[in-house]
Symmetry: C2
Subunit: 249 residues, 2 copies
Amino acid sequence: MNEKELAELSGGVESLGFRPLYRQVRDRLIRRLVDGVWAPGEPLPSEIQLAAELGVSQGTVRKALDAMAAENLVVRRQGRGTFVARHDEERIMFQFFKLVGDDGQRTFPQSKVLALSLARANAAERAALKLAKDTRVIRIRRLRSIKGAPVIVENIALPEPMFPGLAAMEPPNNLYGLYAMRFGVTVASTREQLKAVAVCEADAEALGATPGVPALKIDRLALSLERQPVEWRVSVCLTEKLHYLSELR
Amino acid sequence: MNEKELAELSGGVESLGFRPLYRQVRDRLIRRLVDGVWAPGEPLPSEIQLAAELGVSQGTVRKALDAMAAENLVVRRQGRGTFVARHDEERIMFQFFKLVGDDGQRTFPQSKVLALSLARANAAERAALKLAKDTRVIRIRRLRSIKGAPVIVENIALPEPMFPGLAAMEPPNNLYGLYAMRFGVTVASTREQLKAVAVCEADAEALGATPGVPALKIDRLALSLERQPVEWRVSVCLTEKLHYLSELR
DNA sequence: TAGTGGTCTAGACCACCGA
DNA sequence: CGGTGGTCTAGACCACTAA
C-alpha cells in the first residue's frame, strides 16, 4: 500500500519531489481537524482503525499522530486513546499566555471589554492580517486584571468574514476557546514581538497608571492550523509584579 | 538484549519503575557528550555501530538520537551522519538570541567588556546559580552594539569553579562558544524573564541614553546538559529599533 | 479482561552524500 | 559506488485504563 498520493496541503517547506507517507497521513488528518470531523476533546479512531482505513501500517499512523502531538494538535493518553486538543483556559495558559507573577504564580486574568466595533480594515490591519482592501475587521479593546489589579490593556483586530456575527456577541474571557467552539477556527501558533515602551495617555487612563511609565508591549499575530492570520493583538502590560517567561532549548 | 539496566542519569521526571530502553540509550550518549568523548562538530558513530556496541536494535538507537536532535544536542544529516551540535554564532543566534531588528534582520552584536572581576557570590547570585556559601563568581559587565549603536548593557555572573582561569582571559564575543570549547560546559537551555523598566543612571551612561527611558530587562539563567545553572545574565536592552521575538506553538 | 497507546525488534527499501 | 540517515512494514510484547 505504498502509493505516493499527490495530496497537496499546508505545512512546512518540502524538498518538492518527495513527500513521506506519514507526512501525507498527517496532512489528511489535519484536514479532517480543520473540517471539524472530530470535535475538540473527542477521541480519534484508534491507530489500528486509522491504519486500516487509510491503507498504511500502524507504525506510519503512529508517526503522523506523534508529529501532531508534538504540534499540540492532539493529546495522546496511553490506555485511553488520542484526543483532539482542547482550547480551554488551562491549555491556553501554558501554551500562549506567558505572563507570570514574580512569585511564580500563573493566574489567568479577568477581562473587561472597553470597546467593540466593526469597520473597514486600516492599512496596519490589512498588512498584519494579510487582508484584501475593503475587508471588514472587528475591533475589541479590553482591560485585563489579575487579582483585581488592572495590568493589561489590549487592542484586538479580527477579520470579520472569518468570525461572522462575533461583533454582536458578548466576548468571553477566553477568546481562543470561542474561536474554536463557535467558528471552528483553531489558533495553532503565535508570533509575538516584544518591546519596552512608555505608556501613552489613553492606556494609562485605562490602567489607572501614570502616563510615561515603562510597560511591555506585546504585538501578537495568531495563526490558524492552515497558517492563515486569524487575530492581531497588541497588549500593553505593566510588569511591576509580573514578567514574561520565555524558555529556550 | 532487553536488560532494563538501572542507569540513573539526569533528565525529565520519570514514572519511576519503568525506563524505556531508548531513554537509557539517550542518557548514556548524553553522558558521553558531557565527558567530551566526541568534540562539538565531530560525527558520532553510525546508528548501526552504536546499536551493535550498545546491544540494542538500530531502531532504538534511532529513537534516542532523534530525541537528542529534538533537544538540539546533535545534528543529523542524511547521507552524512550524526554530529555533535556546535555552539557557533549562527546556532546561538537562532537558538538563544531572540532580539531582531524591526526590519526583520538578525545581527549578532559586537561586545565591549566594561568590567571583569572575581568575588564571593552575593545573596542574589547564590540564589540564582544555586551556589554554596563562599563560592566565588566571575562578574562581567559588557556593552553590546549593533551596527555601531550601543543597545544592550549586561551583567553576567559565572560560578568560578566551573570556569577556572576564565577571569584572566579576554572574553570573546560569543561566550557560549568559549564555555563549550575551553571548559566543556554546554549551555543546553535557558529560562528568560522579561520586564519593562526605566533605565537607571549607570546603564544610561553606558548606553549613551537618557536615564529613565523605557528598556527591556532580560533576566536569563542558562542551564547545562545536566540542568545545572551555568550562567546568570541580566541584560538591559533599548528596543527602539529592535524587538524580542517569541514564537509559540 | 479487552482495548488503547508505547516500546522494541528485524528487515526491506529509499533518498542523499561523497569519493 | 558504498555508507549514511529516513521511511515503511509486520509482529511481538509491555504499560496503562476502564469496565
